[in-house]
């Protein structure tokens, strides 16, 4: 469970990132955050694992404040939160397997990790994670030999190997073509359903949000302007979130169907 309590964020230059957000996300939900560019979607997502520091309020994860966590405690809490990035953030020269294994570093001592010695259990786990996203056979390829969609699946596998309880995905499909977009979204959805991992995704495309989300959160200029189930997120609601009518380029279109 993730709880936002009166969370605000003001960037050092005075820009308001988040304004008094109150939210509760229950285990196993598939939440999609929508909003205009600059609305604060990334800020919200990244404040959950404290890649961004908030300036006010508290964020609790399973009842424990990550905002107050320090040192090892923070690292330990981050271990349970997987993150998927728009630009994949893989080490391109390393093998796929090594990239996936890097999700396991939180479980072992620093010395052991400096030597790069992962137990067999971790390797099995990593291979199983790759199998789950259908790229087991690429395990020993270099990451930059893979296509964009495959690379994103590697980073999903990394979050799986991490045995994360929460997955945060910041525009995971923004640099993919429509077809691979659906493959990656399907993977996320399947993992969410089969393993019950709480999933929070930032998305640009409204039709994708409607298709995959169980719950939609709308942000506008750092403020929560909509929070409700998909069924109630009508075109008018989106119009409100966006402050105008929906444009064609905010729809992915019917590719893949």
């Amino acid at each position: 469970m993730i709880q936002f309590q009166n969370v605000s964020k003001v960037y050092p230059n005075g820009t308001i990132g988040l304004k008094n957000i109150n939210l509760t996300i229950k285990p196993g939900e598939f939440v999609v955050i929508v909003g205009l560019s600059g609305a604060g979607k990334s800020t919200l997502l990244r404040s959950i694992n404290r890649l961004h520091e908030i300036t006010d309020g508290h964020i609790l994860i399973d009842g424990k404040s990550i905002t107050a966590a320090k040192g090892k405690e923070l690292l330990r809490m981050r271990r349970d939160i997987g993150m998927i990035f728009q630009s994949f953030n893989l080490v391109k020269r390393s093998s796929v397997l090594r990239n996936v294994l890097s999700g396991r570093v939180g479980y072992h001592s620093t010395l052991r990790m400096l030597l790069g010695m992962f137990p067999q259990h971790d390797v099995d786990l990593a291979l199983k994670a790759l199998e789950r996203v259908n790229i087991r056979e690429k395990a020993f390829s270099r990451a930059d030999e893979l296509s964009g969609g495959q690379q994103q699946r590697v980073s999903i596998a990394r979050a799986l190997a991490q045995e994360a309880k929460i997955i945060l995905a910041d525009e995971p499909v923004a640099s993919l073509d429509p077809l691979t977009t659906r493959q990656v979204m399907d993977d996320l959805k399947r993992i969410n359903q089969e393993l019950g991992i709480t999933t929070i995704v930032n998305l640009h495309f409204i039709d994708l949000a409607r298709e995959y989300a169980t719950r939609i959160i709308g942000l506008r200029a750092g403020e929560l302007v909509y929070d409700g189930p998909v069924a109630e997120a009508t075109d008018e609601v989106f119009g409100q979130i966006y402050g105008r009518a929906i444009k064609q380029d905010e729809l992915l279109g019917g590719a893949g169907h």
Partner: protein
């Protein structure tokens, strides 16, 4: 879709074999050069004493410094200008897009590369024999030295020019000279000038050490004070020289950036004409000052005989020296030189790591931290390796070990800077991802940083090895072990056939290593 055959881990034998070979080289080199850790620790008190005696520097010594300092500058001004006079025409001859006839361009490139393989100190030692000790030898050495550098730079920039204007000139029906004057020169003029300034900067550094082998300038004074154990005076010489060098480099760099990138907005024709005239006037003034200031006498009446004897010897190398059963032969000295550069390389590649991470802007929160790291690196860089070699020779005695330490420490400055840049240029995405995974600083380093920068680090280390090899030959000439030592003995004893075979040995080794290292570097990146 799943592939029927499960992917298998590719074998890593290649990696293991490489590491083993490198380790074997390391052990071999350490044995060759007597460079062991206890040896180093034994030398530390000596180094400390030497440095303690350098301070406080004898500031009053400045009165005696400024004259040889002026001589140093005059030598490099004259040397660079004369060198340039020959370098540009040769560059045009060597450039394949200007000179279409291979029987002209191939020999031109050969001369160019040959001149570049011979280090500055070697030129100085040779000319000191031919024309006698003093600034004449230094100036001549710098003519050849700057010629080698400048012709290469000019040649490379000439080959890179836009072919469009050349075709236009051909279409207009211009003869070859007009074709060069209107098609080539306007394109290369700013770069040529920038290269000239750059070469001048390098030549001042070279000029200040040439005196160590008797070629005039501040280096001669430095040698005298060292021989008299007046380390405080030596220290003030080094400091003053560094100040002069840094001032000139700073000014020159400003001009170079202006030449290459242009100023703010286009300069008016009147202004650019004024700058041209001003530039020519300053150059002429410097030239006159140098010609009047330098005592370019010293040409002994016997110089022609010497030159003849030298060339005769050089063309009849002493092949017997290649291998002598009792040792101290060419092969063993070359091997020693290789060992010195290899060890120096390893030392610097390791020592510079913490510096590189300290200096990289993206590895610390505050600019203050990385800025101080960059400053430390550039301080190390400014002290010439020859000076470092002298310090270490005093500390651990003359021999290969002093060479290893000098090369190792000096390269830290250069390599650290390149490494820091490699770190700054890497993709920060994986660092972010590892932070999100819950990795601490060390784990981030091991999983997000190191795998990204390793290829660059290796490539720079190889490149540094090429440079170190050249420096190692040179350091031997002032007593830091390796092939330079028998070379300077042979030069001073005027045994030219021996000099000839050593030169051949150096040129072959340097070219061979350049080739191997170049091939490897292409494979890595």
């Amino acid at each position: 879709m799943k592939s029927a055959t499960a992917a298998v881990r590719p074998p890593r034998t290649k990696l293991y074999v490489t590491v083993l070979i490198l380790l074997a080289f390391l052990i071999g080199s350490a044995v060759q050069t007597d460079a062991t850790v206890p040896e180093l620790i034994r030398g530390i008190p000596e180094i400390a004493r030497f440095i303690a005696e350098m301070f406080p520097p004898d500031w009053a010594f400045f009165q005696k410094i400024w004259k040889p300092m002026a001589e140093t500058l005059q030598m490099s001004i004259l040397g660079t200008l004369i060198g340039a006079l020959f370098a540009y025409p040769l560059a045009l001859l060597a450039a394949r897009n200007v000179t279409k006839t291979p029987w002209l361009s191939v020999p031109a490139r050969l001369i160019m590369n040959l001149c570049r393989t011979i280090p500055d100190l070697l030129y100085a030692a040779l000319f000191a024999i031919i024309v006698g000790f003093g600034p004449t030898a230094g100036t001549l050495a710098l003519v050849f030295f700057t010629f080698g550098i400048l012709s290469k730079l000019a040649y490379e920039s000439t080959e890179a020019i836009d072919p469009g204007p050349l075709e236009a000139m051909t279409a207009v029906g211009a003869n070859k000279l007009k074709w060069i004057r209107f098609g080539v020169l306007p394109q290369v003029a700013p770069t040529y000038l920038a290269h000239l300034l750059y070469t001048f900067e390098i030549s001042i550094r070279a000029s200040s050490i040439l005196g160590l082998v008797g070629a005039g300038g501040i280096g001669l004074l430095l040698k005298n004070t060292l021989d008299l154990f007046r380390y405080d005076q030596a220290c003030s010489i080094v400091i003053y020289t560094l100040i002069v060098v840094i001032i000139i480099e700073t000014v020159s760099t400003r001009f170079r950036t202006y030449l290459l990138k242009g100023g703010k907005g286009p300069a008016s024709p009147a202004r650019s004409r004024m700058f041209t005239i001003l530039g020519i006037a300053v150059t002429l003034a410097l030239l006159v000052w140098s010609l009047l200031g330098l005592k370019l006498t010293g040409f002994q009446p016997t110089w022609w005989q010497f030159t003849k004897a030298m060339f005769k010897g050089l063309f009849h190398p002493d092949w017997g020296y290649v291998y002598l059963p009792e040792g101290e032969d060419l092969l063993r000295n070359l091997l020693l030189t290789l060992s010195i550069s290899y060890l120096g390389n390893i030392v610097s590649a390791i020592v510079c790591l913490p510096f590189a991470f300290w200096a990289a802007a993206n590895m610390s929160r505050s600019r203050l931290v990385s800025g101080s790291g960059k400053l430390a690196l550039s301080l190390v860089r400014t002290i010439p390796e020859v000076i470092m070699a002298i310090i270490f020779i005093k500390a651990v005695g003359p021999g290969p070990y002093a060479g290893v330490l000098a090369l190792g420490l000096h390269s830290v400055g250069m390599l650290g800077k390149l490494y820091a840049e490699a770190i700054e240029n890497m993709d920060m995405g994986p660092v972010e991802a590892m932070t999100a995974v819950g990795a601490n600083r060390w784990k981030i380093l091991a999983f997000a940083v190191v795998p990204q920068v390793i290829p660059e680090f290796l490539s720079y280390a190889l490149y540094r090895f090429e440079i170190n090899l050249r420096s190692a030959t040179l350091l031997g000439m002032i007593g830091a072990g390796g092939i330079g030592t028998p070379l300077i003995f042979a030069i001073n004893g005027r045994s030219w056939p021996r000099v000839g075979i050593i030169l051949i040995g150096i040129v072959v080794t340097v070219s061979l290593i350049d080739y191997i290292s170049g091939t490897l570097r292409k494979k890595i990146v």
